[in-house]
Amino acid sequence: MRNQEIKGNKIDWVTIVLYGVLVISGWLNIFAAVYDESLNQNIFDLSLNSGKQLLWIATSLILVVIIMAIDYKFYDSFGYVIYGTVILMLIFVLLFGREVAGSKSWFEIGSFRLQPAEFAKFAVALAMAKYLSDSSLKLTKLPVQMVIGGIIGLPAALIILQGDTGSAMVFAGFVVMLYREGFPSPPILIGLAAGAIFTLTLLVPQLYLIIAIIVIGILIIAFSKKHPKKIAIIVVGMLLVIGVVKSVDFIITDVFKPHQQNRIKALINPEADPLGYGWNVTQSKIAIGSGGFAGKGFLEGTQTKFDFVPEQSTDFIFCTIGEEHGWIGSLVIITIFIALLYRIIYIAERQKSRFSRVYGYSVASIIFFHFLVNIGMTIGLFPVVGIPLPFYSYGGSSLYAFTILLFILVKLDAHRMQMLTR
């Protein structure tokens, strides 16, 4: 037993190095984003975002030490407690929070501001891991699915109430983990297909799309075994798809809020109003596109520095990479993220307990979703959703939350030999 403990107490340094690289290069890029040549600035200046970010990084290290020092069993035992605490914080912030840019999602204590929604991510991950640690639970069962829906849905609903739809959307990322844990694939595929059709409807005239669907349907019927039941299913499916297509207009004009409509319009055709709703996407693409193959060089970027790109040190930090380091820089950063995600999956898969594996996949899910949406929006492949690039974007809450999220996994992994399957 003791032998095992020593053998298992291996910290995964690959993850830590990748984390370190992302955090440090994020910090440098934040400096580049706010840099003003004429002011002779210092990267350590605490009045700059880069100085503050360094402070967050330093304090994150304290968090890392604490996480690593706490007994690994704590995360398992206190999973629900942590979840409950965060839910309470989300309720409190609704009541007593401070409104920033239309979202009531911040606590303010002195000059220190905290965004509980960021911490909901690891709390939900812990709660999910705790719930699913019972290996007898089958994700194909409806009651189990409903509980999962509740665990994810409750904080998501509270965050939407705060007015921060972007942060709430992040919980959709858990679908990756659920898929791995055996959630039936048809609903996921249908969901993805509906999303794809929805997007196509925005890009292609409805009539063409409907004709295409009918043609595809007829072809499938023609080339498959002509079983009456099967034909019926295909016809019903076709009608459903056409229904989705027809409903798009209704959803866009009647369900989405005007600013959300604009974000979708900006995605489809930012040139229609480059100074209005298309501004962010247009300027973001200009900044990245102007970087060329090798980039303009560190601190040589103009579009980000001169504020053409909005939120250039937070949500649009990727523009700085694209502009100053070009396609090569983008390749490196994307590769590091992919390496981190693969490493997390590798770690998750080597866990002996389902708790740890579910938690690992949850971490991968959340980071992947952020990566997907954040970079996607900067290059015009996703609507503008205000969520940060993990470890990279400026902001204490975000950095703390991702650090906690990742290092709990590192801690659990270090003790994987002791975490016996239950």
Partner: protein
């Protein structure tokens, strides 16, 4: 059972990364438009307008200079005017006006500056200057407009204005841009290239709020502006002022030339206007008013008006006849008034007497001798041949074609051709008796006042002229321009001119010019002309030069509907010659007579 799902997830992640990298490769490496858009965002082209060249008179008196005006510029994105009404009252515009102007600026660009109010005067600018802190988004851009210390010479100087669509389209060098100033007429147009200098440009980097962030690439692509060249004019400001004063209230023109150089000392077209009207903010309104004026002050009569020369043409006729050998100075011809009328008591004059008395029948006969020299037994063909010879000589005096003065839109006048009369009367249907009116400067002959003055200079030079011009030197290099150094000789030999000069002396001494062109201490040689005008009163014409030897000034005065040449035109000529040579005139009586302008009695 779900182990293979791990790989599906990994493939999906890899797929996303690949899609993103491909998309990035498209926008970063393959598509150059984002780089242009980025430069467009941050690079602000700031033009550095060169100082337009000044114009001086022959005595280095400034006649055209630059005056700063202030364009009120706006960057719509920055505009935060709390008290719009106060703003409007300060700049004297209505609230409606404010809104439309701001909308126009927004339509142009939300982040780039555009003109809000053009050309605030010094006074308006001074009044508003202190309040600019309260009007973020507005700032002042200084430019210069033309200014003139003397309200004279408008028709010759011309004016500048903002480039028109047509001018931009025609500009093959693509130098001009919208809102650039360009010479529109007169010297400003003719010497546009020399006056304008070369525009400089600075590429500045600006942030999204338009705040300057230094030079693009440390100013690698910047160019400095080169100021335009100054022009030294041939005009004598004092003489020009005096001439304009004398012509005030009259329709006509005055041209004075220094015979030895071809330099134009004064050139007046009346009525004219104050050149200061066509600068600054009121340019548009004033221009409209000038265009609508029925007397057309924008029309430069001195080189665009084409008139019958009248009796002054007899000098040319005499010279041609002498050259052709069809008369001698001693040829006497009876004053037979049966075909053409005459005036004064005389009956059988020689050439000098005929000129002094402006004898019409004499010159009718002289013209006949020139046209019918018996070169062909057929009288029609003989006249045609004679007309060709006559026309060649007349044209050698600079009549019938443009002289090539350094001003745009010069007219050439007209010396009738064989083709013209064939067209009017038919081939072999006309002969001397059909066209004799030309003999006394009526008929189909049309000349430009500038050509009359040039003719006076030609006689003063005894047989040649130098191309008349208004600019004698350009820029630092004060050397005379070579294109005006060439002596252009007439086809009449020098020896014949003395007769003409003596006759012109006699005109002023004892003939039609004696009352108003004669001066106490200067020998003036001149010739009157009274041009018959079927539409109204006759036109008063006078050409002259003085002094007789080493002439300093040659001139032509053409006053429309002012009756006899001996009155208005001769009177103005006398005063001007005295003014130019003596520096002043004490002939108050004549000055009053001219200024009063009542010549018909």
């Amino acid at each position: 059972m779900n182990d293979n799902r791990r790989y599906i997830i990994q493939i999906a992640i890899a797929l996303v990364a690949i899609i993103y990298l491909v998309k990035l490769f498209f926008i970063q490496v393959l598509d150059p438009s984002y780089k242009f858009a980025a430069d467009n965002n941050i690079i602000q082209r700031v033009d550095e307008y060169p100082y337009r060249g000044l114009i001086y008179d022959r005595n280095e008196k400034l006649i055209v200079y630059n005056n700063p005006v202030y364009d009120l510029m706006v960057v719509p994105k920055e505009v935060k005017v709390k008290d719009t009404l106060f703003f409007c009252s300060l700049f004297n515009i209505t609230l409606e006006d404010y809104k439309t102007r701001l909308q126009a600026a927004k339509d142009y660009s939300y982040v780039k500056p555009s003109v809000f109010i053009k050309q605030l005067s010094n006074k308006d600018f001074a009044a508003a200057q202190d309040f600019f802190v309260d009007f973020p988004g507005f700032y002042i851009q200084a430019r210069t407009v033309r200014s003139y210390p003397f309200p004279i010479l408008a028709n010759a100087l011309g004016y500048i204005g903002e480039t028109s669509r047509r001018e931009l389209d025609r500009d093959s060098s693509k130098y001009y841009k919208k809102r650039d100033y360009i010479g529109k007429s007169g010297l400003e147009l003719k010497y546009e290239k020399q006056l304008r200098g070369r525009r400089g440009v600075q590429y500045r980097m600006v942030n999204v709020r338009g705040v300057e962030k230094g030079r693009f690439k440390q100013g690698e692509y910047d160019t400095t502006s080169i100021p335009g060249n100054n022009l030294i004019s041939t005009i004598d400001v004092e003489l020009q002022r005096y001439a304009e004063t004398l012509l005030k209230g009259k329709v006509g023109s005055i041209v004075a030339i220094e015979p030895a150089t071809g330099e134009i000392l004064a050139m007046v077209s009346g009525p004219s206007y104050d050149p200061n009207l066509l600068t600054g903010r009121e340019y548009g309104n004033n221009f409209g008013a000038l265009v609508k004026d029925s007397l057309n002050p924008l029309f430069n009569r001195a080189l665009q008006g084409q008139f019958p020369p009248g009796s002054i043409f007899k000098i040319a006729q005499a010279l041609v006849a002498l050259q052709e050998g069809v008369i001698t100075p001693d040829t006497r011809i009876p004053c037979n008034r049966s075909i053409i009328n005459c005036h004064g008591a005389h009956s059988f004059e020689d050439l000098k007497g005929a000129i002094t008395n402006s004898c019409n029948p004499y010159f009718r006969n002289v013209y006949q001798r020139v046209l019918n020299q018996n070169l062909s037994p057929n009288t029609f063909i003989d006249t045609e041949l004679g007309l060709e010879i006559w026309r060649k000589h007349i044209m050698s005096f600079g009549f019938g074609s443009k002289l090539g003065i350094d001003l745009p839109n010069e007219k050439g006048g007209y010396i009738p051709t064989v083709a013209l009369y064939d067209r009017i009367y038919g081939d072999n249907q006309w002969k001397y008796s059909t066209i004799y009116s030309n003999s006394i400067g009526q008929g189909e002959v049309q000349v430009v006042p500038l050509q009359m003055a040039n003719f006076a200079a030609t006689v003063a030079n005894r047989g040649y002229y130098l191309r008349p011009h208004l600019i004698k030197a350009i820029g630092e290099n004060q050397q005379p321009l070579p294109e005006y150094q060439e002596k252009i000789y007439t086809s009449v030999e020098r020896k014949h001119f003395d007769v003409a000069v003596n006759a012109m002396e006699e005109v002023v001494r004892s003939g039609t010019g004696q009352y108003r062109a004669k001066l106490k201490d200067i020998i003036v040689c001149g010739k009157t002309g009274t041009v018959q005008n079927s539409q109204g009163e006759d036109h008063s014409v006078f050409i002259a030069f003085a002094p007789k030897d080493n002439p300093k000034i040659a001139m032509a005065v053409y006053v429309e509907n002012a009756g006899e040449g001996a009155r208005a035109a001769a009177g103005i000529t006398g005063l001007m010659i005295e003014k130019y040579i003596n520096g002043c005139t004490d002939n108050i009586v004549q000055e009053t007579y001219i200024l009063k302008g009542k010549f018909i009695y």
